[in-house]
Amino acid sequence: MLTFAVVTPGLDLQSSFLELLEGLGLSQGLAQLLWLPLPMLTVLVAAVVGVLVNVWLERKISAAVQQRIGPEYAGALGVLQPMADGLKLLFKEDIIPAKADGLLFTLGPVLVLVPVILSWLVVPFGQNLLISNVGVGVFLWIALSSIQPIGLLMSGYSSNNKYSLLGGLRAAAQSISYEIPLALSVLAIVMMSNSLSTVDIVNQQTGAGILSWNIWRQPVGFLIFWICALAECERLPFDLPEAEEELVAGYQTEYSGMKFALFYLGSYINLVLSALLVSVLYLGGWSFPIPVEWLAHLIGQSVEAPLVQVITGSLGIVMTVLKAYLLVFFAILLRWTVPRVRIDQLLDLGWKFLLPVALVNLLITAALKLAFPAAFGG
């Protein structure tokens, strides 16, 4: 079903690991079985650590924006604060309201979190550094992210609270409206790289370093994608589903303890995931601003040399994470800078502005691809 890391020249952890185990006298099937959970666990841990970093950044940057100091006693510069937050949520009493629908109430947060984590399946950190190079790549992410509104509607409905129901309905309306321009801007990228696979999309952007990144060829698509990704993550200019002043906390109102933590985790994992995907689709993914091949050539080393491969592999991970966190920084800065839009403004922006612009962007990309096949991936 899932094919793990296609064999290509270059760093391939899977085949090395399998060879090592088979060298120790284990059968091939058993070695494969031992390998299977490793990338998944690594990515899961990476996602959770990413969330912790994100929470810390949010607290520190918001403090800086408002000229406060922010957390500073838990660890150096307050780096342990997110851990303390998480532990607090873990020890809180798990409450299910008396008139709520217990089953749906429990299932809601799970349905919100699981698709987001599953989407990490297609995020590449290097040529072979992803869980699965599935052919449908970004399409899988779009499909999975469309499951989330069901979880939101479920928790909004089952809480038996009018604020929750309104929040759930708003969340569903919002994610349906912004999914379409999002998918259309992804489609323009897919058209340029002739593939849905995230690895192929990044490979299409290598060659001339920073100049070959998609952001120069798809500036409008980049903006549309980023706006829609923020709306899908319910970040502040678009955080109507949980608007404190109107809806208390939207669909999260009745939640506490670990179930609330699942929503919290889900929204932050989603933010990191969106930032990672922006960096993959528009900012060249794991590629360095200057092509690594040139650098290796400059110091007289072959790209195939083992040490160079390890260095370029680590550089790739660092670049992906760096780009993603730069975008997260912008998202946090946006959150503490701009006011919230009204629901009618939100839907107007989605349907009357972003959707037509995304369609025109797609058509122009198609025309440019026909006119200049060399520059726009013929």
Partner: protein, 204 residues
């Protein structure tokens, strides 16, 4: 039996069980909200079956269209009009249920007969795997172009119909009943409520 085929068998059994039980729940549960959520589960397990058949593009499309769009819209509609009202009892409910059960069982028997009498080619055609996306695209733009375009025309008609129905204010009379529409209800005055109250208080 290898690990891969065991996993496949377990996945198939789990997916089929959720599919059958879920669909029974959709039809038989009295609570319409539960039915709608179960419908989502049914669509998801169908997508899982597609994935088992190596049709990952179809699986993703199934999730996007049926779970992400159709089911969310159904839920949306249910939650917007979820009024607690006691429906009037239908006469002869037991007889109606018996009749519909008989019809359903008949259809099920017919399908079973087809499934058992057809000479299925085993093993089926080789799955194309990742290449399927390209294959589907080629078909949609060559021999399936007309059905594809007809489907989009149908969607356009549905969209225009929905807009006409939703924007009643463009008509002077109601489309269905023929009564004149009270335009005042649709075009509300924009003065905030409190201002009006204050104005009323000032002019006793």
């Amino acid at each position: 039996m290898t690990i891969a085929s065991t996993t496949e068998l377990i996945c198939f059994l789990v997916l089929s069980t959720t599919l059958v039980l879920g669909s029974l729940g959709v039809v038989l549960l009295p609570n319409i909200v539960y039915s709608a959520f179960l419908l989502g589960g049914v669509f998801l397990s169908v997508a899982g079956l597609y994935l088992l058949l190596n049709a990952s593009f179809v699986a993703a499309a199934q999730v996007l269209v049926y779970v992400g769009a159709v089911n969310v819209l159904i839920l949306f509609a249910i939650m917007l009009v979820n009024k607690k009202e006691t429906l009037a009892a239908i006469p002869g409910l037991a007889l109606r249920r018996l009749l519909s059960a008989a019809v359903c069982l008949g259809l099920f028997g017919l399908l079973l007969r087809v499934a058992f009498t057809t000479n299925w080619a085993l093993p089926g055609p080789l799955p194309v795997g990742e290449e399927a996306t390209v294959r589907i695209g080629e078909h949609l733009f060559s021999d399936y172009l007309l059905p594809f375009e007809l489907a989009s025309v149908l969607l356009l008609m549905a969209m225009i119909g929905a807009i006409v129905l939703a924007r009643r204010d463009v008509f002077s009379s109601d489309v269905i009943t023929g009564e004149p529409v009270d335009q005042g209800l649709i075009e509300k005055a924009r003065t905030p409520l409190l201002l009006e109250q204050r104005a009323l208080e000032k002019t006793p």
